[in-house]
Amino acid sequence: MTDSAERRTHLPQASDRLDDLALARRAGMPHWAVTTISLVVMLAAWEFFGRDINPVFGSYPSAIAVAFWELTTSGLLGRALLQSLQPFAAGFALAIAVGVPLGLVIGRFRAVEAAIGIYVTAGYAMPLVALVPLLMLWLGLGFAVKAAVVMLMSVFPICINTWVGVGAVPKSLIDVGKSFVASDRTILRRIVLPATLPYIMAGIRLAVGRAVVAMIIAEFFTAISGLGAIIINSANNFDTARMFVPVVVLMVLATLLTALIGAIERRVAPWQAEIAGRDRD
């Protein structure tokens, strides 16, 4: 910190060109390049060591790629993905629609916090897998139960993060609303909600991973379908490479979704990046 500050203020000298080079070197590689190299190294190592393993016990990238190609050209993967994404999207949307308002209200009103905060905290730790049979009794084996499992798994991180976010809204901003005689409702909508947005987005990001897990759990335990079905069927046939395809697809999907949410966050809360700029090595 101090030496770069000096660098900016000191008088021009012959050594400046060297300094510039040093600065450029320190700025380092772009973020994406580091990530790409990391991926390449990881995949290469997996390929190298994976080939020595019995194909029932493990697999490696090129075998998975072949299986991916087969599953894609046969149309199976596409259909399964579509089948999985429908309850996923419905359950996730419902989790946002319920979790955000609930978190706002719990965070804003002490009485609500005292009354239902405890269920949210406990619900976060709920062993959902154990409850799936019960949910099946209520909702059957189809779309509804899958959406419900996704929703139940992802609503809590969203709700809790929103709740915590409300607590972090500066009291002085609430005072601004009050000083203009804004109602509780208006303060919640016009001040608390936008001020909490970065927390809400972080909660949604955390929820993505849980929602993906929930989707597969639902497909395992209810009517076997979608990507979960490919996993189960491949595992039963000891076709490990094929089993890895949906797993990798899901991981890529979750990563893309997280990046998308990050991009949305920068759009809807651009001030956050300015105020809380990250300055790290």
Partner: protein
């Protein structure tokens, strides 16, 4: 009109000190009146209750006892007859400068063309006509506070309440804004009650200075400087300024008044 009367304002609250609850007497029977169009400064050491008093006058806090009257009508909460300027501007970071000014107007129920017009006019009043589309983080501290003042003025309150409005700014910016506030007061004639810990600011801006100590009014001092005060530099150099500043300084430090 815009006369503010504080009548026997008392504020006590309990603070937990270890195991025992301790009663804090933040304000004890504070009474004074700010006349219509007058500028009054509240000054005193930190913890003397001046900000609490201002918040009670605004309606953001309630008094344990006593009454606040604006033009004879008792205040029971926040209202559009008073506009608050906060210490750190407290702009909403997701809104542009113009939208921030509009916020108060919208709360008041102003809509459509009138909303645009009033907000633009208020921004122009503080010299920020061209910065309306910028967001708070793109404005300097001084500009942010000007938007804060514009937001309070936009709803056309009778009284402007300001909580150390320039306390967070650097000395030069502060002096610029003090001059602007003098000008603003000359043009709008608003009643202004402001909290400060800056003696120069109190004397330069106010018609009277209320010196508080330990939750009570220790002294109320007239500032014998003419209005309009168009030349702050000359005022700062005047003997009346220096003498008043010294009198207020003695009061703030709880020293007896000098008798000539």
């Amino acid at each position: 009109m815009g006369e503010v009367s504080l009548i026997d304002i008392t504020k006590r609250f309990a603070v937990r000190d270890g195991r025992e609850a301790q009663l804090v007497r933040a304000l004890e029977q504070v009474s004074f009146t700010v006349a219509n169009g007058e500028v009054v400064a509240l000054i005193g050491p930190s913890g003397c209750g001046k900000t609490t008093l201002l918040r009670i006058a605004m309606g953001l806090e309630s008094a344990t006892a006593g009454r606040v009257l604006v033009d004879g009508r008792e205040v029971t909460g926040c209202g559009y007859d008073r506009g608050m300027v906060f210490q750190q501007a407290e702009l909403l970071p997701w809104l542009t400068a113009l939208e921030n000014v509009m916020f108060g107007l919208e709360m008041k129920g102003v809509r459509g063309a009138a909303l645009d017009e009033a907000a633009t006019r208020a921004l122009a009043l503080v010299g920020l006509k061209d910065a309306g589309n910028r967001r708070p983080y793109q404005l300097s501290g001084g500009m942010q506070q000007r938007v804060g003042i514009a937001r309070a003025l936009a709803i056309d309150p009778k009284v402007l309440l300001m909580d150390e409005p320039f306390g967070a700014l650097d000395a030069q910016t502060r002096e610029g804004l003090q001059a602007e506030l003098l000008d603003l007061h000359a043009r709008t004639g608003k009643t202004i009650l402001f909290v400060t810990h800056d003696l120069d600011e109190a004397v330069l801006l106010a018609d009277r200075v209320v010196v508080m100590r330990e939750g009570r009014v220790r002294d109320i001092m007239d500032v014998p400087l003419q209005r309009p005060r168009v030349d702050p530099a000359a005022i700062r150099g005047s003997s009346a300024f220096a003498a008043t500043r010294y009198r207020v300084w003695r009061a703030v430090h709880d020293l007896p008044e000098l008798v000539h």
